[in-house]
């Protein structure tokens, strides 16, 4: 397949792997932030190809995983209302709230629909003026422009029956939190390519400078990631701490300025709670006051709930890269994708779910 096969070529991969082996002289701990990258690493078994000195740990960049339980409960409460058509990306439907998930709301008669784009939700609002259409606006900086666009468009059209339930989080504050930790082991970051396609990588230059930490902006195909790892290892071995861009076919330093203008118009930065991590200051978006009529939380008056959490999950350690999923005693037994105990097992992009789905056999074979 054109534009994909080039980035999955086994011979090229072998050449990059060999080069990484040549360059490495001592142990390095690298973190990929984005869940999509974790997914690729696991799917292609890239960590198995690397020299033992290069350890990959997996960051908190799975939007489904870090969406707080309380917000899933709010989604369930809103979607259960008879006048509501609740629209969401597919993978949020299976995320368990405190008592039920959106699939169960659907089975109980709620109108819950899967969309591939938030614009579909806007279209539903136009077609069903007697219903309230609510879009579950989940994601990092990547999905924020399209979600902002729906609100901007709804306001221009005077659509009163459309709102979004916002759960937007931002990558740089999470990285800063990790790097401020005394326990931090991460020595280099694979920066999230699609986030940078929107935001550019100026923010990462600040991080590289203040923490003396190398970053490589990488794509999502196996060769993108291998190349990103090679560039990171090279920086580390040479004692550099810069931001380099492996994903130049999609990412520029400035990012997508048009998209950011729309995001800034609709959203403002606010404190956000991350599932498995807790509250991080200035780490997400909320709708600006001007657009408060489109805020589903306000519109439906869903009050802040507190959900009790299971004590034996090590999500916090996993999301900091301090532990691997297989280090958890609940992994694969009490905690599976069907019955997740914690954030990283919830979506296929979470580190625990990716290990469960793709890597259980290596433990079986070793046993």
């Amino acid at each position: 397949m054109k534009f994909l096969d080039e980035y999955r070529d086994p011979a090229l991969a072998q050449a990059i792997v060999a080069d990484i082996h040549r360059r490495v002289t001592r142990p390095w701990v690298l973190m990929e932030i984005c869940g999509g990258q974790t997914h690729t690493l696991m799917r292609y078994g890239i960590d198995d190809l690397l020299p033992k000195e290069v350890e990959l740990v997996h960051g908190p960049g799975c939007p489904v995983c870090v969406t707080p339980l309380e917000l899933v409960d709010k989604a369930v409460a809103i979607a259960s209302r008879p006048e509501v058509i609740f629209v969401s990306y597919g993978d949020m439907l299976r995320v368990p709230g405190s008592s039920q998930d959106l699939f169960q709301v659907k089975a109980a008669g709620g109108d819950v629909r899967i969309a591939y784009s938030p614009m579909e939700a806007l279209d539903l609002a136009r077609r069903y003026p007697d219903h309230e259409v609510v879009f579950f606006a989940v994601g990092f900086e990547t999905t924020a422009p399209a979600n902002a666009m729906t609100v901007w468009q709804a306001e221009r059209e005077g659509l009163k029956n459309f709102s979004i339930l916002v759960s937007h989080v931002l990558v740089p504050p999470a990285i800063r939190l990790l790097l401020n930790s005394r326990q931090n082991r991460v020595q280099g970051f694979i920066a999230p390519g699609h986030v940078c396609a929107v935001m550019g990588y100026g923010e990462y230059e600040e991080l590289a400078e203040s923490y003396k930490m190398p970053f490589v902006v990488s794509g999502f195909e196996p060769l993108d990631l291998l190349e990103g790892i090679r560039m990171l290892v090279t920086q580390l071995e040479e004692g550099r701490a810069e931001v380099e861009n492996q994903y130049a076919r999609s990412v520029t330093r400035q990012g997508n300025e048009l998209a950011r203008v729309r995001m800034d118009e609709v959203f403002e930065v606010a404190d956000r709670k991350w599932r498995g991590i807790g509250e991080i200051a200035q780490s997400g978006y909320r709708l600006r006051d001007y657009y408060r009529d489109y805020d589903a939380e306000l519109k439906f008056g869903v009050s802040m709930t507190h959900a009790d959490e299971a004590p034996d999950c090590i999500a916090a350690m996993i999301l900091q890269g301090l532990k691997k999923p297989v280090d958890c005693t609940a992994f694969g037994s009490r905690c599976t994708p069907d019955q997740p105990l914690g954030a990283p097992m919830v979506s296929s992009e979470g580190a625990c779910a990716a290990y469960y789905r793709y890597r259980r056999h290596t433990r079986t074979e070793a046993a």
Binding site: M1, R8, P10, G36, R43, Y44, G45, I46, D48, P63, P68, L69, Y89, G90, D91, M92, L93, R94, P96, S98, F103, Q104, K106, A107, A108, A115, E120, F140, T142, S181, Q183, H194, P222, R275, G276, I277, G278, D308, E309, A310, P311, D312, A315, A316, L319, Q320, R334, Q339, P340, L341, G342, A343, Y356, R357, Y358, R359, R360, H361, T362, T364
Partner: protein, 349 residues
């Protein structure tokens, strides 16, 4: 630091109180439904064998008996419609038991207001598909439900066929060393259906692979009566089918990613939607577990059949990792091909 991060995890969910869409997906939820509800109530040892069809000794003959209901949306798609699909599906369930399909029944649940032109097109396609497959539709039933109580038309077909003597086909028969043969490209049906649903927004020339597979099975059995089992990987796709066989036989399986045929259009659509072709439905493909000494001859027979032109040996049955299907990637590494709980869900990004 430690204090900056809190241990925040949800408590596990109680078992669901209602039927979910995922219970019809062919994945783990479907298996739970069968085990916890139907097997308990029906208590039939033949049903508990979990084959695609029941094989019955009746008056000296071995009969294969099966039923299937069709609720596809849209009703008409490139490569067929719900009518042709309802014939092929049941013929294939009989064929997977090695049977020569003979007779079908047809049950219709029609929604009030459904157009006669559509109903005629569907029944004509059914008749045509049955004639091509050499089966008679000999009995039937029609119910009309109030508008809003159905979705156009639902069809149930039941079939009986004759199983030749000397055959012993079962998903519990796979043995280490056996070869896994697949009769063609994966995902053509599922992606065709998806591309014709509203809201997806891509066009393709892809067609459903909906077809009757009994002559392909016949040609394969003609060169080896030692074939362990046949399955048609419909809902849940190849991944679910192979996991089921691995589980039933208590063996592992190792697939080779490069050897699994997938059309470019299907790969492209799957990339776009975040789906894996291994889990996408097929309606005209079969997978066979074959002892290694017969594998080449069986594959040759498949390649000679018009419905098996893209057949390939895609993997082997192993002693290692029993109950688990593992795939060797193009990079020489390996990963698990798990059974999904429900349907595949498109990812956020």
């Amino acid at each position: 630091m430690g204090q900056l991060f809190t241990l925040a995890c949800p408590v596990p969910l109680p078992a669901t109180e209602r039927v979910l869409l995922g219970h019809g997906s062919g994945g783990r939820l479907s298996a739970d439904l069968l085990r916890d509800v139907f097997f308990k109530a029906f208590r039939s040892p033949i049903l508990a064998q979990l084959e695609d069809q029941a094989t019955l000794d009746v008056g000296g003959a071995r009969l294969a008996f099966t039923t299937d209901s069709f609720v596809v949306k849209p009703l008409f798609f490139r490569g067929g419609n719900i009518g042709s699909l309802s014939v092929h599906g049941t013929v294939n369930d009989l064929a997977m038991g090695g049977a020569q399909p003979l007779y079908l029944s047809a049950g219709f649940i029609i929604e009030e207001g459904f157009e006669f032109t559509a109903l005629r097109a569907i029944t004509e396609a059914m008749g045509e598909a049955a004639r091509c497959a050499g089966v008679d539709i000999v009995t039937g039933d029609t119910k009309v439900v109030e508008k809003g109580s159905g979705d156009g038309v639902f069809i149930n077909t039941t079939g009986i066929g004759l199983v030749p003597p000397g055959l012993n086909l079962s998903a519990a028969n796979a043995r280490p060393g056996d070869h896994i043969l697949l009769s063609g490209t994966l995902g053509d049906h599922g992606i065709t259906i998806l591309s014709e649903r509203e809201g997806i927004g891509f066009d393709s020339l892809l067609e459903s692979d909906s077809a009757a597979l009994h002559t392909l099975v016949r040609d394969m059995l003609a060169v080896s009566m030692r074939i362990r089992c046949f399955r048609d990987p419909t809902r849940g796709g190849l991944a679910s089918t192979l996991n089921e066989i691995a589980g039933r036989s208590g063996v592992g399986m190792t697939l080779s990613e490069v050897d699994i045929p997938v059309r470019e259009e299907v790969r492209g659509a799957c990339e776009m939607l975040g789906l894996d072709p291994l889990y996408v439905a097929n309606e005209g493909k079969l997978v066979a577990i074959v002892p290694p000494e017969d594998s080449e001859a069986v594959l040759e027979a498949m390649l000679c059949h018009p419905l098996g032109a893209n057949s390939a040996r895609i993997g082997v049955v192993t002693e290692a990792h029993p109950g688990m299907v593992v795939i060797r990637t193009t990079f020489g590494t390996s990963r698990i091909v798990d059974m999904l709980a429900g349907d595949q869900l498109p990812r956020i990004c």
